[in-house]
Symmetry: C2
Subunit: 116 residues, 2 copies
């Protein structure tokens, strides 16, 4: 599905090579979706907090300094993306990372922030 049509360029042969190994449409969609989960400061903070500990909505709201409603909406989104999971404990709902990729991406991102 990546490149059904043969691709060639007289001037830029590198383009033909790139065409061979370019990500498929499906993979670019999936990659973009994963990155989108972290493409917002609020979600970065939520996800980073969850990378440190399993936490209920109210604590996340206090940590990230945002309304519980806003946090709940973001968590709903992240849950739809299968990035976080939840379990109910009494009147709390504890959220945790459900995707180790996220933890890795945050780590890589933070590592780079450190020396740049």
């Amino acid at each position: 599905m990546a490149q059904v049509l043969p691709y060639s360029s007289v001037e830029f042969p590198a383009a033909a090579l790139a065409a061979q190994s370019l990500v498929t449409a499906t993979d670019s969609e999936r990659l973009a979706q994963t990155f989108k989960a972290m493409a917002d400061p609020t979600r970065v903070r939520i996800l980073h907090a969850l990378a440190l500990a399993e936490l209920p909505v109210c604590e996340l709201a206090r940590l990230v300094q945002i309304s519980e409603s806003a946090v709940s909406h973001q968590l709903g989104l992240l849950r739809a993306l299968r990035v976080v999971r939840r379990r109910k404990i009494g009147r709390h709902v504890l959220y945790a990372l459900d995707d180790d990729h996220i933890r890795d991406l945050i780590d890589v991102g933070l590592a780079h922030l450190a020396h740049s």
Copy 2:
């Protein structure tokens, strides 16, 4: 700037610990911005192509199957984020990755897509 106010939770001591090492507001902004560069399928494809070779706008447009104008707009955005750099050769403008973090993040992302 991360947590100016002391933070504590009786019920969830883990939250207090998380507060200690939670990303600062500035870092979460910067992280989100980096991820935002890859939070769109078109940009993923552009960046992945540029991770393989330095390419002009017209070739990128053919590779990702999108209008030259759209590519140019996206490249302008990526350049503003200092993710790509450009150099002019004749009537072509060659773009290349200007941020190794991006290459790494794509690699991590692709690696995870592979086994999931």
